[in-house]
Symmetry: C2
């Protein structure tokens, strides 16, 4: 009994086959190029196996409302060739098996809840801070979605008084993603995040913005845990700055778990998404 999983990113595609215990027995990572050639390589990989189901966590925005015509599609994306591409439909016509379909960050949130940092909990938010900022939400052990999937990386936040940086978001200019994703950190400072000294004031600003978003998410969703992932979070000191800022901004208002338990790093790291996809595949059977 094998399960298939695809973590479809704008940069690379991670494909995996898992056994009954969801141990990964084979794996493929390829760059995301044009849809057709990318799919050819994905097919070549999965064609080797007899799969009973597949879980796909995709970069977005994607259509996730089964009542809509765009269900299973990649929606407006800057990634060349992928806008309005029917990713799920293509996969389904290749493999006549049950599919689970969600966003990459939802899959990661699910993976972390079942097997990672939120194990034993019933709800969590997973926030990735990297090239972009995106979030997945699990509530009552179920991936949360309303009319569409959350786009929480684009909420508007308060600027720090001193901050005059214009922001990088093509839609909102200076929303959370526009002010605090990796590219803004680099443009703002002229240095890549990984080379920026710990004492650089840009980190405090980064923490201020992320903590503000976490506060707003907490006041809205009240999850049991918030899990932070993504390249920018590889700076260990940033987590501590975020926790400190969160406590200060929340001002004791809401009864959240102790901050070191509440705001944590991912545990499955780069595997959160693909493991989440495998879990969803198994449940789709």
């Amino acid at each position: 009994m094998y399960y298939g999983a695809i973590e479809a990113g704008g940069t690379k595609m991670v494909c995996a086959v898992g056994d009954e215990a969801l141990t990964i027995i084979d794996r493929l990572e390829i760059p995301t190029t044009l849809p057709e050639e990318t799919l050819e390589r994905i097919y070549a990989f999965f064609d080797q196996y007899s799969l009973c189901s597949m879980g796909v966590g995709s970069f977005g925005p994607i259509g996730i409302n089964p009542d809509k015509d765009n269900y299973g599609y990649i929606l407006a994306t800057p990634k060349k060739g992928w806008t309005a591409f029917d990713l799920l439909g293509n996969l389904k016509s290749r493999y006549s098996i049950p599919f689970a379909w969600t966003t990459d960050v939802n899959a990661a949130a699910y993976g972390e809840m079942k097997r990672g940092a939120a194990k034993g909990k019933k709800s969590c938010i997973y926030l990735t801070v990297g090239t972009g900022i995106g979030a997945g939400v699990v509530i009552d052990e179920t991936i949360f979605q309303g009319l569409g999937h959350p786009e929480m990386g684009h909420i508007r936040i308060r600027r720090a008084d001193s901050d005059r940086y214009e922001g990088t978001c093509p839609y909102h200019r200076d929303c959370l993603e526009g002010l605090a994703a990796g590219p803004s950190l680099e443009t703002r400072t002229g240095t890549k995040g990984e080379n920026l000294p710990e004492a650089h004031p840009a980190w405090e600003l980064q923490a201020y913005y992320i903590a503000q978003a976490l506060m707003n998410y907490t006041l809205t969703l009240a999850p049991e845990k918030i899990i932070l992932g993504g390249g920018v979070m590889n700076q260990g000191h940033l987590l501590h700055k975020i926790r400190r800022q969160f406590i200060e901004q929340m001002a004791g208002y809401m009864d959240t778990p102790e901050v070191n338990e509440y705001i944590v790093r991912w545990q499955l790291a780069n595997e959160s998404g693909i493991i989440g996809c495998l879990l969803l595949a198994k449940e789709a059977v």
Copy 2:
């Protein structure tokens, strides 16, 4: 077959008895004074009926996690005598019937979804802008709650450049409630909202803040409808300003319903909460 309902507000208590069709057959409104004397009057009213269940929507914050000791309690509130008062426990020891217990705004959201502005939908946010700002959320026809109930009135929002007003929130000073609830409108302008001319710039500011919150809620929860209630929303022109601001700020990013369908006024008006409580009572049987 009678159902009881209490909309417990910090200013007044509305009690109602509904028949099988949930038509209100008797009703009591009393000021909220100290807990014991308020309860005496509530008991005197409900003692006249043989009720099969009761729904309570209370001012908050309240304990809503059944696994916690403070379930059914009013938590930290400025309302004298009510902090740490076991409202649900007291009611339960008077009446041995099933109870539904939620926040006043959740009850209103539920009422509006079942019988008001969001009838036929499965999800909505109800936002009241009055003495305070509070929100209730229904997702998949179920009242949404995480570890606690949402406190979305306290999210941090971006200030307008021109706005130097310090804000009225005792916890966060200039969160959404601190900048845009009724009292801030009055202190900011020196005039009660209902006497403030339509052309006063404070209304545009008001719309800017509320629309910003609605955008952040939308990006997080993606509901089918947002319903606005509360005293400040009695100014009809404000709704139009909010819709315009919402479109401008969202910048076409998310695929929401057409704004005149999406952001609407309450339909049950002051009855949303009590009708929601009756509906919840009936379901609690």
